[in-house]
């Protein structure tokens, strides 16, 4: 075998030229994929803003649809006033139910469960998270709506089932970020486990808990299948302030109804409603990020 010529010029030799081409192609591919994802999001936001912005006005945001949606006429059908209220109520009630359960599950998993028990519970959470929302909706439809009629509260229940695993997961992650040394220090002061959890671990992980909740709320606000099955037969022209007893009009439903009602003006309103929803989701996500960064800083300073 010929010995390597160490005194040759320091330009690529052997297969280095080929290896460098492969390197460049892979790096380019990865970069392109990342940029495509960003580009798709930007195009998506741009098109929604472009089409929806014209529909947005104070009256659009505060007025209800003027009459029951119909396929026939191209009449201006008012705005999304009651849908915003309905969505807010349904999601808020769902979150009120989901947050304590999700946080308790996370506490159980990180603070109290033995590894043998934590595994199956974690698996169950992952499976629950993976359940299609239409299946959750169908389950509650069969259980509650049949024989009783729809109610906004049933949609809240479905959304809370969607939120619980998400909240449990993000809360669990932020609880695990709380250093073991802090718990040790607290135990060494003669403070019981539960008091340590309530007084030290949860406050330390509070930012993470809020972040998880905000993300879960953002996700739930756009869920369509549950509200379609459980809270869709509302009178779209009236506003109701209670989730109990009757279905509530809501944003995903308005988007659906405006877009199938036909006519250019209704279609613009569908885009307008979509813009309202997407704005809420984006703002919630940015808020969650800011909170998350803040809580990390608090922990590490």
């Amino acid at each position: 075998m010929a010995t390597f010529d160490y005194s040759g010029p320091l330009t690529p030799s052997g297969n280095l030229r080929r290896r460098r081409v492969v390197d460049r192609v892979m790096r380019g591919g990865a970069t392109a994929a990342a940029f495509i994802a960003v580009a798709i999001l930007l195009i998506f936001i741009y098109s929604i803003v472009q089409r929806g912005a014209s529909a947005i006005s104070l009256s659009f945001l505060t007025h209800n649809p003027l009459e029951t949606f119909s396929l026939s006429a191209n009449v201006p059908l008012g705005g999304v006033g009651n849908a915003i209220i309905g969505s807010a109520l349904i999601v808020a009630v769902g979150a009120v139910m989901a947050v304590p359960i999700g946080v308790l599950i996370a506490l159980f998993l990180t603070e109290f469960a033995t590894p043998r028990l934590a595994g199956p519970v974690r698996l169950a959470l992952d499976l629950l998270y993976g359940l299609p929302s239409i299946v959750i909706a169908l389950f509650l439809y069969g259980l509650l709506v049949v024989g009783h009629g729809q109610a906004g509260f049933y949609a809240s229940l479905a959304l809370s089932m969607i939120m619980v695993p998400l909240i449990a997961r993000t809360t669990g992650e932020s609880l695990q970020l709380v250093p073991k040394e802090l718990r040790d220090a607290s135990h060494a002061l003669g403070i019981s486990r539960w008091r340590t959890t309530v007084g030290l671990t949860i406050p330390s992980a509070f930012g993470g808990i809020v972040t998880g909740t905000v993300l879960a709320v953002a996700r739930a606000a756009g869920e369509t299948a549950p509200v379609l099955l459980l809270s869709s037969l509302a009178d779209p022209t009236t506003t109701s302030a209670s989730v109990f007893g009757q279905p509530l009009n809501n944003l995903p439903l308005d988007i659906y109804n405006f877009s199938v009602a036909g006519g250019a003006s209704n279609f613009a309103k569908a885009w307008g409603a979509a813009l309202v929803l997407v704005t809420f989701v984006l703002v919630a996500n940015f808020a969650a990020r800011a909170l998350h960064a803040r809580s990390r800083r608090m922990m590490s300073r």
Partner: protein
């Protein structure tokens, strides 16, 4: 004790090359001292493996007792067993007598939370809570129902840990903004704020610079008037400087098993100058470890 010429030789070797400033001999009669911890034939297991074997030791009130030895020799394990901090480690099991003021720490019915309320602990890495300096101290007293004169209690604890003058103007700021040495003194202040009986210090200076270390060593001399102190240290000189009595642990390797054993426990001056065991002598003269 019989003093052979070889022993005298070893003693002179100890004094010169290491230049250890050994804590002056107390020459107290152990029989007259109040015993806080009385361990008899204590074995500690992690799962099936015997981690520390056959430890018998008496720890006296208002003394500083040092535990020295190479890594893995079980000195930390024994100290953490004294306030049941090992309970949370799965597979931990302790056999033998482990008495604290005559009560077996591992008897059924003993609540580890109650044990730790009396036997505090300071850890290797300073671990202040992500709260204000004031709340770091006041949190535990509040929970334990010592709400009266909380401000005074906080001040007393901070003075007791020689930290008051440095932090009195910023009690409401985050404890995480303090330096490492200040944080460790804050942890000591936090421990003494609930007026424990014993303070266990698990390598309290190993993450600190020499100046902070010296401060904490001075502080320990103050603290032993009110508390019984047990310190684990990697640093032989530190043990020699601060402790009345020193326990030397070593690692017994036989048949592939590594078990920590207590080799020698004696007055610090005697242990460093006239060790009874060859292994102790090798360790304190720097021949290994």
């Amino acid at each position: 004790m019989d003093e052979s010429p070889a022993d005298a030789d070893a003693a002179s070797q100890v004094a010169s090359p290491l230049a250890i400033n050994v804590h002056e001999a107390t020459e107290e009669d152990p029989a007259t001292l109040e015993v806080v911890f009385d361990l008899r034939d204590v074995d500690v297991y992690y799962g099936q493996s015997l981690a520390v074997a056959g430890v018998s030791i008496e720890i006296y009130k208002n003394h500083i007792t040092a535990m020295i030895g190479p890594s893995g020799c079980g000195k930390s394990t024994i100290v953490r067993s004294l306030n049941r901090m090992n309970d949370s480690i799965s597979g931990f099991r302790l056999t033998g007598q482990c008495n604290y003021h005559g009560n077996d720490l591992y008897a059924s019915g003993v609540d580890p939370v109650e044990v730790r309320r009396r036997i505090g602990m300071v850890f290797q890495r300073p671990n202040p809570f992500p709260k204000s300096i004031y709340d770091n101290i006041a949190w535990a007293p509040r929970i334990l129902g010592m709400r009266e004169n909380l401000d005074e209690r906080v001040e007393k604890a901070l003075r007791g840990a020689a930290l008051w003058d440095e932090v009195k103007d910023r009690l409401k700021t985050s404890a995480l903004g303090l330096s490492g040495g200040q944080q460790q003194r804050l942890c000591i202040a936090r421990s003494i704020a609930i007026e424990p009986d014993v303070l266990l210090l698990d390598e309290p200076c190993s993450a600190l610079d020499p100046i902070s270390t010296a401060l904490i060593e001075d502080l320990m001399q103050e603290l032993k008037r009110d508390y019984t102190l047990v310190i684990v240290t990697h640093n032989m000189q530190q043990a020699a400087r601060v402790a009345e009595r020193t326990a030397f642990f070593s690692l017994d390797v036989s048949e592939g098993r590594r078990t920590g054993v207590l080799v020698e426990y004696d007055d610090t001056a005697r242990l460093f100058t006239r060790p009874a065991d060859k292994r102790t002598e090798d360790y304190v003269t720097g021949r290994f470890g």
